[in-house]
């Protein structure tokens, strides 16, 4: 059987699609984090400082995966 010809010819780096996919999870994660912190501060404003610090700790962990996606896209 002869080889078929391609339907579409897309040229470029698939790493950009990989990075695009990597942004989905951290985006939702950070959105949830900040939303929950907002709710909690609205309920109990006197602990706002401690809640903000916890939000930043969580943000550092969640954002790590998005940043690894960016670096992996640039490296390969």
């Amino acid at each position: 059987m002869t080889e078929g010809s391609p339907l579409v010819n897309i040229v470029g780096n698939i790493a950009t699609i990989g990075y695009g996919l990597a942004t989905l999870g951290p985006g939702i994660g950070i959105g949830l984090l900040v939303a929950k912190t907002q709710e909690s501060v609205a309920r109990q404003p006197e602990v706002a400082g401690q809640l903000r610090i916890n939000m930043f700790i969580g943000m550092a962990l969640v954002e790590a995966l998005g940043l690894i996606g960016l670096v992996a896209g640039l490296l390969f």
């Binding site: 400082g49 610090i53 930043f56 700790i57 943000m59 550092a60 962990l61 954002e63 790590a64 940043l67 960016l70 670096v71």
Partner: protein, 252 residues
């Protein structure tokens, strides 16, 4: 039309080519921002009086921001004292180097090349490791980081490698990449908006010039956003350093 690319961040060498002291435009901007921030604080602190005048007042407000809102909020008033100088220097160095990305003649944030964020992240890593070793002793610090308490012992087999990578490798790596990627992306977007505006105004005709007004509006709005991001990224970097120091000092 000047299409932005990664080559923006590797401009031609001005002096000392081939050695490790190579100076290009970005190094010059870095030197200018370091000089500017040093001069600002020297001028504000010179002849410091008990009742501050205006310039000293502004400098005190800025320093108090780092001391109260970052160091004391995270570490508590007593534990924060040894670390306030480091956090202050970190915060103002990052603000000064980020803000040059929007200053009109400089137009390049020297934190957008990996050198400066990497150096600052290594300093932060040393800071929290030394703080942990001082609090727990070397073996105790490794044990408290890699084997957190309150976990049944079979889980340590998978938890310890994860904690090892997460604590000692990912923390400085994400600090670096977060700062660098934010500044890099901001610079590329600004260059794209401004070069698109100049292209539409100069080399097209008729209705396309109207599009140039839109892109100029976007460039203006984005410049304001970049100023906000510059201060925010400095705040996040310094706050995370303080948080890592605090986590390293706590007994688990």
């Amino acid at each position: 039309m000047h299409i932005p690319s990664i080559a923006e961040f590797f401009p031609p060498v001005i002096a000392f080519e081939g050695t490790i002291f190579e100076i290009n435009r970005i190094t010059l901007v870095r030197l200018v921002s370091a000089l500017a921030v040093s001069l600002l604080f020297w001028a504000a602190a010179r002849r410091a009086q008990l009742v501050p005048g205006r310039a000293q007042n502004v400098a005190e407000m800025a320093l108090d921001f780092v001391r109260v809102n970052i160091a004391e909020e995270v570490l508590g008033e007593r534990r924060a004292r040894p670390h306030v100088p480091l956090l202050t220097v970190m915060f103002f160095a990052i603000v000064a180097m980020n803000i040059t990305g929007v200053v009109p003649l400089l137009n390049m944030a020297s934190t957008s090349v990996v050198t400066v964020p990497l150096l600052l992240a290594v300093v932060a890593w040393i800071a929290f490791v030394v703080a942990g070793i001082k609090a727990h002793g070397a073996i105790g610090f490794v044990r408290a980081s890699l084997f957190p308490s309150g976990v049944p012992w079979p889980i340590y087999i998978i938890l310890a490698p994860i904690e090892l990578i997460s604590t000692f490798i990912l923390r400085p790596a994400t600090l670096t990449v977060r700062l660098m990627a934010n500044m890099l992306a901001g610079h590329l977007l600004l260059v794209m908006f401004f070069s698109m505006t100049s292209y539409l105004f100069v080399e097209t005709s008729g209705l396309m010039k109207g599009l140039g007004v839109l892109t100029f509006g976007a460039a203006f709005a984005f410049t304001l956003f970049e100023i906000f991001v510059a201060v925010l990224q400095a705040y996040i970097f310094t706050l995370l350093t303080a948080v890592y120091i605090s986590l390293a000092q706590e007994a688990h």
